[in-house]
Amino acid sequence: MKNTSPLPRKRGRRHPLAGVALMILGLFVTGGAYAATTAGIASAETQTVDAASLVDEGGKLFLANCASCHGTNGEGTDAGPSLIGVGALSVEFQVGTGRMPMAASGPQAERKPPQFTQPQIDALAAWVASLAPGPGMPDPKYYAADGDAANGAELFRINCAMCHNVAGAGGALTEGKWAPGLADVDPIHVYAAMVTGPQNMPVFNDMNLTPEEKNDIITYLAYLDEAPSVGGFTLGSLGPVAEGLFVWIIGLGVMVAIAIWLTAKSN
């Protein structure tokens, strides 16, 4: 009887991994084709529109994207509150920071990449503003970040730091809500948030913090974004919590390791 060695791998005309390779090639082709065609659609030309058609365009966008939760006339449903009277500034904040359209229902909407272009946001804002009077867009000089950073820092510490952390690193609130970090936030959105009081943030109207004071606060936040931290690594600007973690685990760990090494017998 001939010595039967294990059979060699069957060699056909196709490599055994040919099927897998074909699948991957197909996925790339279809994905690439889709990306190419949608890129073509997305690069629409900017259209100059007058005020009335801006409101109309906003209405169409609203019906397509927002009405399922906010009602066809912005009157609100069980899923979303009424938008009558929230003003153009609320829309600029919520849609401009990407919070709306909300990704999933929950205690708070999170900041994410905006889903609309700026002309579309302006159109939505114009339509919502047409429903009822509400906070409108401020004079750009009030969010130019050229105010008094020291005064802004004092106002920030008194009014904002308890939720947003003294360095604007954000903080936790109750039951799944949080105060977001303020790093790299557009000045207009900071202004809008103060005026409109999104979700559970309190309202800081222009009589509580004057527009000049709001500009000072925005100046302080811009200073925080630019200035290097005085004490070295910020560790998230969480103060004693992060520093304590570092010292107790790394610092004390190294000291314990050295103490053990000092008294251990050399091998």
Binding site: E154, I158, N159, M162, C163, G171, L173, T174, E175, K177, A179, G197, Q199, N200, M201, P202, V203, F204, N205, M207, N208, A227, P228, S229, V230, G232, W261, L262, A264, K265, S266, N267
Partner: protein, 349 residues
């Protein structure tokens, strides 16, 4: 019980008296010290050379570190007003010095552990008790001193001396007691700057607040009129008088009958000082009407007179009764009706 004889007895075995407790047959015996383990640097010359090179490396790194520290102090100059230049200078100079010192430390310790004399030495403990002759001499000294001074015999001088020594620290009690503040702390804690007619003003500017400026969902940080201009005891007064002013929709406010007059058209004012340990409670959630203290997460429900709904606080936040004056500015009707802030011993509950 077998008594160890005095002197150099190293007998560790225990022999019980006949008729005493039961002796177990598997009584543990002293195993002695573990056998000595030789070091690898003593056994193999290759490892000895390796250890030598390692120690030399540590010392060499130390030299390099010291040079880095000296050079980088000038290589990263500090320009006034530029925080980053200070950080870089500190970082590299510090790193250089650290490496310089740690290099010497690690090198010296490794030399001692791996290369220096490696045999284990055991030094036996000597017994603490002295010889009987020494003890008799020592006892005799005390007896002689007692006889010569008359300490035991002369009771009058001895007792009056002890009395005088005990009386000496008594003035210290009077002196240190005077370090405490002059005011009765109960009076200080039970009253704040708020009085009938004191206007509510913004923090820190001190500008009075009109009721029409407080819109629904607003949160104003409030200090009493006059605090912004104070110079003496400003922070002590602010620590008791700080108030948070909020406006809720009237239908959301559930007020008890006695306190219906304490708010004004949905505008309510509560002490900012947490009743747990005294942190400022100002994390106001506009829609849930919850007030959170960030320190220990006590939660207060503003729509129900700031009753505690979560956390370690024991009492609701004290409410400041407010109303408006003739010009429409918000004013307090009186001081708080209970002490603000955490509990203290004399506080009436």
């Amino acid at each position: 019980m077998a008594k160890k004889s005095g002197g150099d007895s190293h007998d560790y075995s225990y022999e019980p008296e006949v008729g005493a407790a039961v002796v177990p047959s598997d009584q543990a015996s002293n195993p002695g010290l573990p056998p000595e383990r030789p070091r690898i640097t003593d056994m193999d010359e290759k490892f000895e050379k390796q250890a030598e090179r390692r120690i030399a490396l540590f010392f060499g790194l130390s030299i390099v570190g010291s040079i880095i520290a000296a050079v980088s102090y000038n290589a990263f100059p500090i320009t006034p007003g530029d925080v980053l230049s200070t950080r870089l200078n500190n970082l590299f100079t510090g790193l250089g010095i650290t490496i310089g010192l740690l290099g010497i430390g690690f090198g010296a310790v490794h030399w001692a552990k791996s290369l220096m004399h490696g045999h284990e030495l055991v030094e036996e403990r000597h017994p603490v008790r002295g010889t009987d002759e020494t003890r008799e001499v020592a006892a005799g000294m005390f007896t002689q001193a007692n006889k010569e001074s008359g300490f035991t015999r002369r009771s009058l001088v001895r007792n009056t001396m002890i009395g005088a020594l005990l009386a000496t620290p008594i003035p210290a009690v009077a002196l240190f007691r005077d370090l405490a503040p002059k005011e009765n702390p109960n009076d200080v804690l039970k009253h704040t700057m708020w009085e009938a007619g004191t206007r509510l003003t913004r923090d820190p500017s001190g500008v009075p607040i009109k009721a029409s400026e407080v819109t629904i969902g607003s949160a104003f940080h409030v200090i009493p009129e006059g605090l912004a201009e104070m110079h003496e005891h400003k922070l002590e007064e602010k620590a008791k008088a700080a108030v948070l002013l909020m406006r809720l929709p009237v239908e959301d406010l559930n007020e008890v009958e006695e306190r219906k007059s304490w708010s004004y058209e949905g505008i309510v004012a509560y002490s900012k000082i947490c009743t747990h340990v005294g942190c400022p409670v100002a994390l106001y959630e506009q829609h849930t009407h919850h007030l959170l203290c960030p320190c220990h997460q006590s939660e207060f429900d503003v729509s129900n007179h700031c009753e505690v709904i979560f956390g370690p606080a024991a009492r609701p936040l004290p409410q400041l009764p407010i109303t408006i004056d003739a010009e429409g500015y918000l004013v307090a009707q009186s001081d708080f009706t209970e002490p603000v802030g955490p509990s203290f011993w004399e506080r009436e509950l």
